[in-house]
């Protein structure tokens, strides 16, 4: 006696099909379920599929939860599932099949559907952090004065884990305490994306600036970094609260974050205002150059025209800290 759980697209294309040799299948957002549904609208333990004998399977919502049947108008807590019935859990559509409904059951030689689903999901969640480690190693390799091979620098990149693991663990602990769901993979994915964002700002942007012949004002880097940090922390908070209503605590945290971002930006702006030291990006290999080479006579014309701009700076008001 088997059950097949199919994950469908909105157009009912089968994304995955998992076979269960059991009469009871738990579905939810928590990792203890047979079917893991990665959707903020789904509770950690949301639904049970039960099949007794050769009867049609039934869906029962766990206490406090509900689901919809596609085509239905109201949320229900219990329903018998026909061969074409489609369950809607948040944005996810599921169809429950029995032996009589399917003729192409998956091969027993393959990994079980649950294992495959989880493995692929874990890999996807770990991908950003993995990319971050690879990029960090690439960056240290490219900037290395020692001439060592890339693989030697990869070990340096792995040291990021010393920071990433406690970071993810801390957020997971907070998630577990507040929402009874550690959401490890989600926090891992967010942390990885945050790392990638920071690398893009601190390493990618100067590289792009140098390759394109543009040197953005130095005061752009700090706000961008703060923004990435803020977005990362916000995403973690969102996971902790499972994307639900903004409680006063979360609202206060977000307001504090916004205030801190603004303060950091203002502080940086003040500092730049005092120093006004232009940022000159470093050298990059010439094959990375994105802009065409400018003719020398045109450069001459541009430099001649630049005098007005430089002379006008004399009339700019002087910050208090620099007054004579």
């Amino acid at each position: 006696m088997s059950l097949w759980i199919e994950v469908l697209t909105p157009h009912h294309r089968v994304l995955s099909r998992t076979r269960f040799e059991s009469s009871r299948v738990n579905i939810g957002r928590g990792y203890g379920n047979h079917v893991y549904v990665d959707d903020a609208a789904v509770l950690p333990e949301h639904l049970i599929i039960v099949r007794e004998g050769h009867e049609r399977p039934k869906a029962r919502a766990i206490e406090g939860a509900a689901f919809r049947l596609e085509g239905g108008t109201a949320a229900v807590t219990c329903a018998e599932l026909g061969p074409t019935a489609v369950l809607q859990l948040g944005s996810v559509r599921l169809r429950v099949r029995t032996e009589s409904d399917v003729s192409d059951a998956p091969s027993a030689r393959c990994l079980t559907g649950l294992t495959r689903q989880r493995l692929s999901h874990h890999l996807i969640c770990a991908l950003p952090l993995t990319l971050g480690i690879i990029m960090t190693a690439l960056q240290t390799w490219a900037a290395s004065w020692s001439g060592h091979s890339y693989w030697r620098h990869l070990a340096d990149g792995m040291t990021l884990l010393f920071g990433a693991v406690p970071w993810v663990a801390a957020w997971s602990l907070v998630s577990y305490v507040i929402a009874r769901d550690a959401c490890v993979m989600r926090h891992l994915r967010i942390a990885g994306l945050g790392l990638l964002g920071l690398l893009c700002v601190s390493e990618g942007l100067p590289l792009a600036a140098s390759a394109s012949g543009l040197d953005p004002s130095p005061d752009i880097y700090m706000p961008l970094k703060v923004l990435v940090w803020g977005a990362t922390a916000f995403a973690h908070l969102g996971v902790v609260r499972a994307g639900r209503v903004l409680t006063p605590a979360v609202t206060a945290a977000l307001l504090a974050l916004a205030a801190a971002t603004g303060a950091a930006w203002y502080h940086e702006k003040e500092k730049v205002e005092l120093t006004a030291r232009p940022a000159i990006s470093g050298l990059v290999p010439s094959f990375l150059r994105l802009v065409p080479v400018q003719a020398r006579d045109r450069l001459q014309g541009d430099l001649e025209g630049m005098e007005v701009e430089v002379a006008e700076a004399r009339d700019e008001p002087l910050p208090d800290g620099l007054r004579r």
Binding site: W141, A142, A143, S144, W145, S146, G147, G213, L214, D215, L274, T275, A276, R277, P278, A279, I280, S281, G282, L283, V284, P285, S286, F287, R289, V291, P292, V293, Q294, A295, R296, L299, Q300, D302, L303, E304, M306, E307, E309, V310, A311, A313, R314, E316, L318, P319, L322, R323, R324
Partner: protein, 446 residues
């Protein structure tokens, strides 16, 4: 490298009993020891100049000067009075003569390039109806001392009081725009602006600087320069500080025009650095050095060769900040062996030479710096792609005067990167463009 001292002492020429309207000439020494004799004669004409915080009795710096006219006009260094000149509300200038009398000081004329100033000592007392002065040399009949001839410098070293420092005349420093006399004697902070005289008590020069990395290698401004400046002042009427700052700007523009003309009239030369030809600038006036990180015991992954040049002399238009000098530096970074470094690593190694110190901060005297970053062509045939960063910063007090920094990197090859940097302080825009053009035209692959 020549670095100006910030403080100086003054030295005086001496003399007794001369009617207030007539300068007292010093005669040949005799009798007592030579140093004691000269000190006795010159010391009365030397004054100590102090810069104080307005309303305070505390000095911020001190220098020296010497009386040259009966109406209280004295000669000193420009850098002794510059602090007051740029911040007249914050600072006050005072003097102390050989008898301990004190009073205020007004600036009458300045010569930034020769680092000289004529000041008027207010309410200078007259002793016994006479005023000790040191005669300025007549430029038409001035005598050039012989090499090795004894010279005595007077001043107030480290605010210890007026002292005498013996040394010798070692000729004029070659390759300087503003001629400097090499004095092989000791000059110390506080002696700036003091007189240096020969054994007959005749003014040879004015103390101005010492070489910080040398021992008893000091420099004097020729006395004839003081004569020329003094001749431009008709009386002791002081100028307003804003007029004087305007005059500083004018002198910087004249200096710039002179140097640009000289630079353009001088045949440009190229020298070899690795596989590149690089231009040189004002060869005869530059002090150059070269270096390499090559080491046989622990060879670095990239070999770096450097050529650095700086003008031998410079002006100091603004106290404690810019020196209106010019310098350039070429750095060649090469992988030790083919393929030992990738293009990214080579670029990373060359980057500090390219952009370290390129951005300059805004200050009370300088406006915000603007930079432009371009990829352009270098070489006489425009066949060498280069990255060029061009930064300019205006002087707040001197319209039309800028500090310009240029950085050029030729990094089209995978095995070597050439970085050239030019730093021009206190120049006009056309001068900066002329140097930039020369840099671009003169940089090519060999």
């Amino acid at each position: 490298m020549i670095v100006r001292t910030l403080f100086s002492v003054l030295l005086v020429c001496s003399c007794f009993a001369t009617p207030a309207a007539e300068p007292l000439m010093i005669g040949p020494p005799g009798g007592a020891s030579l140093g004691a004799e000269i000190f006795a004669r010159v010391h009365p004409a030397v004054v100590i100049l102090r810069t104080r915080l307005a309303g305070s009795e505390r000095d911020t710096s001190s220098g020296s000067g010497f009386l040259v006219a009966p109406d209280g006009r004295a000669i000193t260094n420009y850098h002794v009075v510059a602090e007051y000149l740029f911040e007249p509300k914050k600072f006050a200038l005072t003097y102390q003569d050989a008898d301990g009398a004190t009073g205020t000081v007004q600036v009458v004329a300045i010569d930034v390039l020769n680092d000289l100033a004529v000041v008027a000592l207010q309410n200078l007392p007259v002793r016994d109806g006479r005023r000790a002065m040191l005669a300025l040399p007549d430029s038409a009949q001035s005598r050039t001392p012989q090499l090795g001839e004894a010279v005595f410098a007077f001043g107030n070293p480290l605010d210890l009081g007026v002292t005498i420092s013996a040394g010798s005349y070692s000729g004029v420093v070659p390759g300087t725009f503003d001629s400097r006399i090499h004095f092989t004697g000791s000059l110390n902070p506080g002696m700036s602006g003091g007189p240096a005289v020969d054994r007959a008590g005749r003014l040879v020069g004015i103390n101005v600087a010492r070489a910080v990395d040398g021992q008893s290698v000091s420099f004097l401004v020729p006395g004839s320069r003081a004569t020329e400046l003094f001749a431009r002042t008709h009386d002791a009427t002081p100028l307003r500080t804003d007029e004087l700052r305007h005059e500083v700007g004018d002198q910087l523009r004249r200096r710039d025009a002179y140097m640009r003309e000289l630079a353009l009239a001088t045949p440009w030369r190229q020298e070899t650095l690795g596989g590149f030809l690089i231009p040189t600038f004002l060869d005869d006036y530059m002090e150059c050095s070269s270096g390499s990180n090559d080491s046989t015991s622990s060879p670095p992954p990239a070999r770096t060769q450097t050529i650095s040049c700086t003008l031998k002399t410079s002006a100091a238009p603004i106290p404690n900040t810019r020196s209106a000098t010019q310098s350039y530096r070429n750095v060649l970074v090469q992988a030790r062996s083919s393929g030992s470094l990738n293009a990214f690593q080579l670029a990373a190694i060359a980057t500090p030479a390219f952009n370290n110190g390129l951005g300059s901060a805004r200050s009370g005297t300088m406006a915000r710096q603007r930079c432009t970053n371009r990829y352009t062509q270098a070489g006489p045939r425009n066949d060498l792609p280069v990255r060029l960063v061009w930064c300019a910063q205006a002087y707040r007090d001197f319209p039309g005067i800028y500090d310009v920094q240029v950085a050029l990197a030729a990094h089209d090859a995978t095995d070597a990167i050439l970085v050239s940097r030019i730093s021009l302080e206190g120049v006009t825009w056309p001068t900066a463009l002329a140097y930039t053009n020369r840099l671009l035209e003169g940089t090519e692959r060999q």
